[in-house]
Amino acid sequence: MDENQLAGYADKNQLPPPSERIPAIRWLKQNLFSSWFNAILTIVSTALIMTIVFGLLRWALEARWEVIPANLKLLLVGTYPVEYLWRVWAVVYLVAFLLGFSSGAHGGLMRRVSTTAALVSVVLAVLPFPWGTRGWLLGIAVAAAAGFGLGYLGKGIRWCKRLEIASWILSFPISLIFLNGVGGILPVIKGRTMWGFMLNLIGAVVGIGLSFPVGVLLALGRRSKLRAIRLVCTAYIEIIRGVPLISLLFMASIMLQLLLPASVRPDLLIRAMLTITAFSAAYMAENVRGGLQAIPQGQYEAAYAVGLNKALTTILIILPQALRIVIPAIVGQFIALFMDTTLFGFIAILELLNITRSIMGNLEWRGTIFELYVFIGVVFWILCYSMSYVSRRIEKTLGVGER
C-alpha cells in the first residue's frame, strides 16, 4: 500500500468537529448566572469593576498629566546631556536593527516581536511629541526594517548565523561604551548615576548578561562530583539567596571598598552592577541547575562512550540542551531583575523611581505623586507583561520544537 492510499483511508472516517458557537444569552447563563451564588458573585464583581473604573476615570480626567511630558526626558535618561542624546538613539537603533536582522533570518516569534516594536515606534511617532523626537522615533522602524531586509537576504548563508550571535553579544559592550564615552574618542559623560530609566534597563541587561556565565559555572559546580567544589558553590548560592538584595546593596555601598585595596575604588554605579550580578548569578545558577537536572543520564553516557571528555560533553551535549529548556526561566529572571533595579534608589542612584523625588521636590509639580507613580507602574507593566508574554510563547514553541 502506498502512502496516498493510507492517507485516503485515514481521511474517510474523519468527521468535522461539532460547532462550538453558543448564542450570547446561553453564554451569559452558562458563564455568569449558572447558580444563585454565581449570580451574586457576578453582581458584586460588576459593582467592584464599576467603582474602580469610574474612580480611575474621574481621577484620570482631573489628573495633571502634563507632569509626564514636561519631565519625560528627565524620567527616561535623567541628566544625560541633550546635545549627546543622539548616542542614546544610536543604541536604540542598534538594538532595533539587530532585532530586525534576527527576525528576518528566523521568522516566527522573533518576527512578531520586532514587528510589534516597529509598530509601537510608528504609533508613538504619531503622538504629539516635538517634531525632532518624532523623527527619531520613526528611525526605530526604519532601523528595524533595514535589519529585517539584510537578515532576510542572509538567511541561507552559513556565516550569517555566527555573525548574528556575535553582533548580539558585542552589542552589549559597544552600547555601554557608546553611552558612557571613551577617553579621547567620545567625550565621557559625567554623572552616570543619574540617568533615570536608562539605568534600570542597563542594570537589568548587565546583571543578566554578566551573571549568565557565572551562573552556569555555579550550577555546574553545584552538580559536580567533587565535594569541595560542590560545597563552595552551594554555600555561595544559598547565602546569596538567603539574604535580601537591599542588604547586598547596603554592603556594596559601605563595605566593598573596605574589601578592596586602597588603589581600587570603583564608583557607585559599578558597585551596584557588581552587586546585582553577584545576586543574579545565584538565581541564574538555580535556574540552570533545573535545566541540567532535566537532562537524562543517558546523554552523558552516550557522550562518554563516543569518546568525548567531560569538558566537551558539557559544552557540546549537555549545556545546549539544558540552556534551551531554561530560556523561559531566564526571561522570568530578567523581568524580576529589571523590577529589582528600582532598589538602586536605596544607594542614592537616580533611576526612574528615585528621580521622581527631584520632580516632586519641584514646587511647580507638587501633588503629582499619583501621576508619577502610575506612569512608572504603567511603564514597568507594559515592558514586563510583554516580556512574560513572549516567554510564555517561547515555552510553547519549545514544547513542540526539535525535541
Binding site: I229, V243, M251, L353, I369
Partner: protein
C-alpha cells in the same frame, strides 16, 4: 606471547583519575582560600588606616535614637537591644503578612478557577497587574500616594463599619486587651489546653487500637472551647476587655494603632505576594486531576471527606514547597521597610551603622539574621519533603 599489561601500580599520578580528583579539589580550595584571604587582608589594612578594629562591643553602648513601634524600648537602651527590637519587628510584619497574603492568595487562586467568567477574569487581571509592577513602586504607591496623600487628617478620618478608622496617621482598630481578671482565666486556658491535648492523644490511640476512622481533633477542640467557656463565666468580671478607638482632641485613643509605615508595608507585601500565591494555589488544585476526585467519590467517600482525605493532601504536597519560598520572599522583601520608615532589622541596622560607623559588624549581623530565618525555613521544608517522600513509598 606475554600477557603483561599496564597494571595499576605503574600509573603515573597525573593520569590517575582518583588522584586527579583530589588534586582538582585541593587546587580549587586553595584558590578560593587565597581569594578570601586577600579580601580579609585588604579589610584589615583598610580598617587599620581608619584606626578601627572589628569588635562587637559597641552593641553595649547606648543607642540614643527612637524606635516608634514594636517592643517597649527607650532611646537609653543599648544598640544590641535596639537591633533585637528590629528583628522582632521584622518577624511581626512577616508573620502577619504571611497570614494576610495566604488569605488573599487562596481566595484569588480559587477565583481564577471559578466557573464565573467575570470573577475568573478579575482574578487574572489582579495577578497580571500586581506581578508585573516592581514591589517598591507598589510600596511607594501605598505609602506616599495612598496613606500620606489620599487619606484624610485625623480630624476627618474615614470610618469603616466596626469602628475602624483610616487616617493619614495610620489605621485604628478595635482590639482586645487582657483585663485585671485575665490572670485567673489564664489558668483555664492552660488547663484547657492540657486536657484537650490529653483527649486528642487518648482518642487517637483509641481509634488506632480499634482500627477505626475518625477525627480526634474535633473532640479536642470541643473540649477546649467548653473549658474556656466555663472559665469565662466562672471568672469574676470579664477577663478580656474590648477597647474601641475614640477620637479625642488631637488623636484617637484606645484600640489598636497600626502606623502608616506598618500598614502600607503590610498591604503592599500581602497584595504583591498574594498574586504569586494565587498562581501556586491554582497550580496545586489543577495538579490534582479530576480523576482522583471521581475515584474517591466512586469509593463512596462523602464530599467533605473527599476534600479532606484525597484532594487536600495531594494539592498540599504540590503547594507547600513553593508556598514556603514565597513566605521567605515576603520576609526578605520586608527589608524594603527601610525605604518607607518602618523599623525592621534592616532599618535599625543601618541606623546603628550611621551612628557608630561599624560597617562590617552591622552587615554581618544583618546578613546573619536573614540567613538564620532562611535556614530555619529550609530546614523545616527539608523535614517536610522527607516526610512526604516516605509517604509516597
Amino acid at each position: 606471547m606475554s600477557n603483561k599489561v599496564s597494571s595499576s601500580h605503574s600509573v603515573p599520578f597525573w593520569r590517575d583519575v582518583r588522584v586527579l580528583r583530589v588534586i582538582g579539589q585541593v587546587l580549587f580550595l586553595v584558590i578560593i582560600a587565597a581569594g578570601i584571604l586577600w579580601l580579609l587582608n585588604n579589610l584589615q589594612v583598610n580598617l587599620r588606616a581608619c584606626g578601627l578594629r572589628i569588635s562587637f562591643n559597641f552593641l553595649k553602648n547606648t543607642a540614643g535614637f527612637p524606635i516608634s513601634e514594636g517592643l517597649r524600648y527607650n532611646p537609653t537602651d543599648v544598640h544590641g537591644y535596639a537591633f533585637w527590637v528590629g528583628i522582632v519587628n521584622t518577624i511581626r510584619i512577616s508573620l502577619i503578612g504571611i497570614v494576610l497574603t495566604t488569605i488573599i492568595g487562596t481566595v484569588v487562586g480559587i477565583a481564577r478557577l471559578s466557573s464565573n467568567w467575570l470573577v475568573k477574569k478579575l482574578a487574572g487581571l489582579y495577578v497580571e497587574v500586581v506581578r508585573n509592577i516592581p514591589l517598591l513602586v507598589q510600596l511607594f504607591f501605598w505609602y506616599f500616594a495612598v496613606m500620606l496623600t489620599a487619606l484624610p487628617m485625623v480630624k476627618n478620618s474615614i470610618g469603616l463599619p466596626g469602628s475602624i478608622y483610616l487616617t493619614r496617621r495610620g489605621v485604628y482598630l478595635p482590639w482586645i486587651t487582657p483585663a485585671e481578671s485575665f490572670g485567673t482565666w489564664a489558668w483555664y486556658i492552660i488547663g484547657g489546653l492540657v486536657v484537650a491535648i490529653a483527649v486528642y492523644v487518648f482518642r487517637r490511640i483509641q481509634l488506632k487500637r480499634a482500627e477505626r476512622p475518625g477525627f480526634p481533633i474535633i473532640w479536642a477542640g470541643t473540649i477546649l472551647i467548653l473549658i474556656l467557656g466555663a472559665g469565662w463565666f466562672l471568672t469574676p468580671g470579664n477577663p478580656l476587655a474590648l477597647t474601641i478607638p475614640v477620637l479625642k482632641r488631637f488623636n484617637f485613643e484606645g484600640g489598636l494603632w497600626l502606623s502608616t509605615s506598618f500598614t502600607s508595608l503590610l498591604v503592599g507585601l500581602s497584595v504583591y505576594t498574594g498574586a504569586f500565591i494565587a498562581e501556586i494555589v491554582r497550580a496545586g488544585i489543577l495538579a490534582v486531576s479530576r480523576g482522583q476526585t471521581e475515584a474517591a467519590r466512586a469509593v463512596g467517600l462523602k464530599k467533605a471527606h473527599v476534600l479532606r482525605l484525597v484532594v487536600l493532601p495531594q494539592a498540599l504536597r504540590v503547594i507547600i514547597p513553593p508556598l514556603a519560598s514565597q513566605y521567605l520572599n515576603l520576609t526578605k522583601n520586608s527589608s524594603l521597610a527601610i525605604l518607607i520608615g518602618y523599623y525592621d532589622l534592616m532599618n535599625v541596622g543601618t541606623t546603628i551603622f550611621n551612628q557608630t560607623g561599624r560597617a562590617v559588624e552591622m552587615i554581618l549581623l544583618i546578613m546573619a539574621s536573614y540567613l538564620t530565618m532562611s535556614l530555619l525555613t529550609s530546614l523545616l521544608m527539608n523535614y517536610y519533603n522527607r516526610r512526604m517522600k516516605l509517604v509516597e513509598r
